[in-house]
């Protein structure tokens, strides 16, 4: 440990030089960041009572559950490209109008590449490239936080206030649509399934009824009200009752599925609705977040430089510096050490 400390203080200028550069770089990074605008949407989420969700986790609040789902969706290209089209972010990227949302470094790099003829103009981007850029922008600049048990706050950061509001609202709308569409698909599937079950049950019931009637026709003695039914008739009547019961059960489920499907056409029934729509912010957001990020990255980098530097310099130092090392490394007997004079 002391050897490492000695290495650090011996080479302090060499080690602290890069650290100073990193700090200067972090400050510079904060300074050159373009103004950014944050736009937020607040959504109300609650457990569905009319249309039960089989995937609902009782240990999480509805906001936590939906925030996790939305975050997952934001990391998919499928969802992001739909948001891109809905918010016209894709068009902005295609025409190059979205350049204002890039960082200074990105813009400088793009300008240099264009000047050197090594990059095509934005108009030449393929739809796949546009989708990639849309996905990269949306997934990296969107924050979804459950701000209460039943409220989700969705924030999008962009280089212009208008774009920030458009994309934030598009994400919320797309999410509502996706959730609703998913539930509708499930409800449709349930209706279709129970309808087919209903038909089957009705056919089974018809067969059971006919079997009872045929037996009574063949055995008129069993028709009398006071007649003691034989074992065969008892069995046939039991089968008939069971078929009736099954039909009733399927009928109930089909009714419930149809109710769910109809309910999903009503606004707010799926437990999700937008409380505060996205508005274009009037002033850029604080640079505190960028400054904190830059400070964090700078600190980590600086620590890494110092630690790795000290370890490497200590490892590379193959000289003797203390009398103890004479014994330990050379296996010779030290008789003294003369301190540096002057």
């Amino acid at each position: 440990m002391l050897r490492l400390l000695e290495t650090f203080f011996r080479h302090r200028l060499l080690l602290l030089g890069p650290v100073a550069l990193v700090i200067a770089g972090s400050i510079g990074w904060v300074v050159i960041q373009p103004p950014a605008y944050d736009s937020s949407v607040r959504m109300w989420v609650e457990r569905q009572t009319l249309v039960p969700d089989p995937n609902s986790n009782p240990y999480l609040s509805p906001a936590q559950e939906q925030a996790a789902v939305l975050t997952e969706l934001l990391s998919t290209k499928y969802f992001d490209s739909k948001v891109g089209k809905r918010s016209r972010l894709a068009d902005s990227i295609r025409t190059g109008a979205a350049g204002s949302q890039d960082g200074m470094m990105t813009r400088v790099t793009q300008a240099l590449a264009r000047a050197l003829g090594r990059a095509g103009s934005p108009a030449e981007l393929s739809s796949s490239q546009v989708d990639d850029q849309v996905a990269a922008i949306i997934s990296s600049r969107t924050i979804v936080i459950p701000t209460g048990p039943e409220v989700i706050t969705l924030t999008f950061r962009a280089g212009s206030s208008d774009l920030a509001a458009r994309v934030a609202q598009a994400i919320a709308d797309q999410y509502l649509e996706e959730t609703l569409a998913n539930q509708r698909v499930q409800a449709d599937a349930a209706v279709a399934f129970y309808t087919s079950q209903m038909k089957q049950s009705q056919a089974d019931l018809s067969v059971a009824d006919k079997a009872v009637d045929d037996y009574l026709l063949a055995n008129p003695g069993q028709r009398g009200a006071n007649a003691i039914p034989d074992a065969r008739l008892v069995q046939l009547r039991r089968d008939d009752d069971a078929a009736h019961q099954r039909l009733q059960t399927v009928q109930d489920k089909l009714d419930q599925a149809r109710l769910n499907r109809v309910a999903l056409d009503q606004v707010g029934v799926n437990g999700l609705r937008v409380l505060d729509r996205a508005e274009a912010p009037t002033s850029p957001s604080s640079i505190r977040k960028v400054a904190l990020e830059a400070t964090g990255v700078g600190l980590v980098l600086a620590t890494l430089i110092v630690v790795v530097g000290v370890l490497v310099l200590t490892w590379m130092d193959s000289t003797i510096r203390r009398p103890q090392e004479v014994e330990d490394i050379l296996d010779l007997r030290p008789v003294g050490s003369v301190p540096r004079v002057g």
Binding site: L2, S318, T319, I320, L330, P334, V335, V338, P339
Partner: protein, 238 residues
């Protein structure tokens, strides 16, 4: 600073004025006063005790490479022997290729060890007084290669001749590495003190230099310095 005054000592051969080098005619003040840093003296005093103190007869001061502080340590060890034990000391400059002792103190460059080995000068002629009881034998002028001369010195036990006139011989030897006759010179000593400059000499070179020695040298670490700031030294008790 340790200081000893010059004294008249055995008559010696005076070189011809026309061939005496300029350096030898320079200021004689170094001859009158041997200045050694106090801390170095204290360390050499302790080292001298550990090496045998008044029982040392012949001590070779060597190093792995040049510029490790070998000559300063040799001078300090010689002064310690003189001051602490009152012994008559011969400081012999065995670094035939790069002699510094005589030049550094304004003494005659020859006759010296080389002439003594060739029997061109007597022991008394090569012993030059630096101060009271502290004599210097310069390297002398080489007639053959340094390696050949060193071999003759060791083979003929030239240092043994000097031992008749002094109590102890402290030799400023050539470095063990660098192509010089350092290893050959080491054969003339049973006690070796290896000077290592802290933070400069690589361990691999030190091992390379000491692996062929017939005696295990003691080590004096020279020019040690901690880079820790004072507050940290206090904190760690160093």
């Amino acid at each position: 600073m340790a200081a000893v005054s010059r004294d008249s000592l055995p008559a010696r051969h005076e070189p011809k004025p026309e061939i005496r080098p300029e350096s030898a005619r320079r200021s004689k003040k170094a001859v009158d006063e041997v200045r050694i840093p106090k801390q170095m003296m204290e360390v050499c005093r302790s080292a001298s005790l550990l090496l045998g103190g008044p029982n040392i007869r012949r001590l070779g001061i060597t190093s792995t490479l040049r510029e490790e502080g070998r000559s300063s340590i040799a001078l300090a060890m010689a002064v310690v022997q003189r001051e602490d034990y009152g012994r008559v000391v011969a400081l012999v400059d065995m670094d035939l290729e790069n002699p510094t002792v005589a030049r550094g103190h304004g003494l005659e460059l020859w006759p010296g060890l080389a002439e003594l080995a060739r029997h061109e000068a007597t022991s008394q002629e090569v012993l030059q007084p630096l101060s009271d009881g502290l004599l210097v034998v310069s390297a002398g002028a080489l007639a053959a290669s340094a390696a050949r001369t060193m071999t003759d010195i060791v083979k003929d036990n030239t240092l043994g001749e000097l031992e008749h006139h002094v109590d102890v011989i402290i030799a400023d030897m050539p470095p063990l590495l660098g192509g010089g006759p350092g290893s050959a010179a080491a054969l003339a000593f049973r006690d070796l003190l290896l000077v290592i400059r802290a933070g400069v000499t690589p361990v691999a070179r030190i091992k390379e230099a000491t692996e062929d020695l017939q005696v295990v040298p003691h080590v004096l670490l020279n020019d040690t310095r901690t880079s820790l700031p004072r507050w940290l030294r206090r904190l760690t008790g160093r």
